[in-house]
């Protein structure tokens, strides 16, 4: 093995360790954040006994989950029952491998170790475990693998609540994957490439895609929320109908693995939203972050985390504010609204890009962005105001029923 390859391997292994450990710790802290945010929204205090301000609560929870009794239902399929938590845990963590979290870091080293030999690396290192050329297609592919864990957990438990949860999960995730996939097509049209690094570079040159592609951003966040199976889309584990849905029969660490997968998915969807629509690690209104260097890498990395935390907080806010959808409402929202709007939207954007770019000859990405933003204002008015007359989410708006005359006359008499 030549020294360059060894240097590359060393760096890759280091990045893998850093990213996966960071995501796992982040997940642990998110469980605390979720409880604190819910407490704040419901005017409570939340966990505050373990450690300063409850900071060690995740450690206590983890320890509790480790030492609790493992149960295995007698009628369950033992192999698949054990396999299911791992199958939802692995894809959730795998997705964090391809999201760039900071500006590239110039790194040169040349040293030798006993037994292992010489390690050489030169040039800028992208701050991502693997900058895959397929970019967000990989994320879509891996997130579609996540459904197996839940579906199999539901089926292998051999209990009717679990099975219903598993079936709901697979139907829901397959439906919303279509909307998720369609909502990123406008990005492909604008950036011309699917790899995350080129999407970020394109946003640094022009506008953040949240402005020129606002409707795609909205569709992406909604279907991403449904992909993570969180409220208001948590049909698979709706506790008032299904006890705990697909993980009813799970206990101790296996249950915790579903939990970790859910929070890792929240982080990934937030990080995807940030990378695709909010410029990734880009710091706005300055070109300082593009020069490279340790300081830039640290600054962009922290800025990325701040942006991701905003979306994580948004998801928690939504969870503790909105009630759960009914299952048929969820399906009609996915199939009868999101997919149609996403399809029409990317056709409109394709025509607009052709008109603005080719026919009018606007080549500056920033000017193009502002034109598309103006178009989006019109489209948003059409979608959110003109089309939505209590139709988008059936029955969510109060429907005034004509009061029968007999009732009013009785009420007036009494």
């Amino acid at each position: 093995m030549n020294p360059e390859l060894k240097g590359f391997l060393l760096l890759s292994v280091a990045k893998m360790l850093v990213v996966f450990v960071a995501v796992l710790i982040w997940v642990a802290l998110l469980t605390l954040m979720e409880r604190k945010v819910s407490a704040w929204i419901q005017n409570r205090l939340g966990p505050n006994r373990v450690g300063p301000g409850g900071l060690l609560q995740p450690a206590a929870d983890g320890l509790k989950n480790l030492v609790k009794e493992e149960t295995l239902p007698k009628v369950a399929n033992p192999i698949l029952f054990l396999l299911a938590p791992a199958m939802s845990f692995v894809p959730a963590l795998l997705m964090s491998a391809i999201i760039p979290f900071a500006a590239p870091l110039p790194l040169d080293f040349d040293f030798s170790l006993p037994l292992l030999g010489r390690f050489v690396h030169a040039g800028s290192t992208p701050m991502v475990v693997a900058d895959l050329p397929v970019g967000f297609l990989f994320v879509l592919a891996i997130s579609s693998m996540g459904v197996y864990g839940i579906a199999i957990a539901g089926w292998s438990s051999n209990s009717k609540y679990s099975l219903l949860g598993g079936l709901r999960a697979s139907a829901q995730m397959v439906s919303y994957e279509v909307a998720l996939g369609l909502s990123v097509i406008p990005i492909l049209l604008l950036a011309g490439n699917v790899s995350f690094s080129s999407v970020i570079a394109d946003q640094q040159g022009g506008l953040w895609y949240v402005l020129p592609l606002f409707l795609a951003f909205f569709l992406f966040v909604v279907s991403g929320l449904a992909e993570t199976n969180r409220l208001p889309f948590d049909m698979p584990e709706a506790e008032s109908e299904l006890i705990a849905g697909f993980h009813t029969e799970y206990s101790s660490m296996k249950f915790a693995m579903f939990f970790i997968a859910e929070y890792a998915n929240v982080i990934t969807v937030s990080a995807m939203t940030v990378t695709l629509f909010l410029g990734g690690w880009d710091i706005p209104f300055t070109a300082w972050d593009q020069q490279g260097g340790l300081l830039q890498t640290l600054a962009t990395g922290s800025f990325f985390v701040v942006k991701v935390m905003f979306f994580v907080f948004l998801f928690m806010w939504i969870r503790w504010t909105l009630p759960r959808f009914r299952y048929d409402q969820l399906m009609s929202l996915g199939w009868k609204f999101l997919i149609e709007v996403a399809t029409v939207y990317f056709v409109v954007i394709a025509i607009a890009i052709h008109l603005i770019g080719r026919v009018w000859g606007v080549t500056d990405p920033r000017a193009m962005g502002w034109w598309l933003f103006a178009l989006n204002l019109v489209l948003c008015y059409i979608v959110f105001v003109l089309l939505d007359r209590g139709l988008v989410i059936e029955g969510s708006s109060p429907q005034r029923r004509p009061v029968p005359p007999s009732v009013t006359s009785e009420a007036m008499e009494s």
Binding site: P133, A141, A151, W155, L163, S198
Partner: protein, 185 residues
């Protein structure tokens, strides 16, 4: 060297999973082995520098189609009652199909890269390296135009008409499925 090791790992996984898929009694387990085969194939596609095909293989086959397979198996609850397809007639049919497939595989061995190059280009002057771009050329093309561009330009340029015909065929299938499934239109 490294690439070859990785290839053999994926190839062995694909073949073993395929064998497990057809020998398992439990249909759910079979479905999972099939998913494993598809993932190994996706790995081989990546080794061939066909990143887009690999991603679509996972996205469409392993991610969407197999979920529907599992859905059907889970809803019908087939597990344990599969012996009815193992009659004597099935064995005869299976043997005939297996022999035919093996024979065609042996026949395909004659298709060396040189012969394919000759059939594609009509002469032996062009070497396989030119007729079939090697990994380096594919990698360079993907870097300059992006993985999607490499794939999309021939698809929507040279092969536009076949593409549109395929699209029309799929549309017909969808309309047919809706008409058959929906009792009252």
């Amino acid at each position: 060297m490294m690439v070859e090791i990785v290839f053999y790992v994926f190839a062995a996984t694909a073949i073993l999973s395929a064998l497990m898929c057809i020998t398992q009694r439990n249909p759910i387990a079979s479905a999972f082995w099939l998913i494993s085969t598809m993932l190994a194939l996706a790995g081989i596609f990546v080794l061939l520098e066909a990143h887009f095909i690999a991603a679509v293989q996972v996205l469409v086959y392993a991610g969407a189609i197999m979920v529907l397979f599992l859905f059907v198996i889970m809803l019908l609850n087939l597990s344990g009652r599969v012996s009815d397809i193992r009659g004597r007639l099935s064995w005869v049919v299976a043997t005939v199909i297996a022999v035919a497939l093996t024979a065609s595989l042996i026949g395909l061995r004659a298709y060396t890269p040189e012969r394919l190059a000759q059939e594609v280009t009509g002469s032996l002057q062009i070497t396989p390296d030119v007729a079939f771009q090697s990994g380096d050329l594919a990698r360079a093309a993907a870097e300059s135009r992006g993985v999607i561009g490499v794939f999309a330009e021939p698809l929507f340029g040279t092969y536009l008409v076949p593409f549109e015909i395929t699209g029309l065929l799929l549309l017909t299938a969808i309309v047919g499925a809706v008409v058959l499934a929906k009792r009252r239109l």
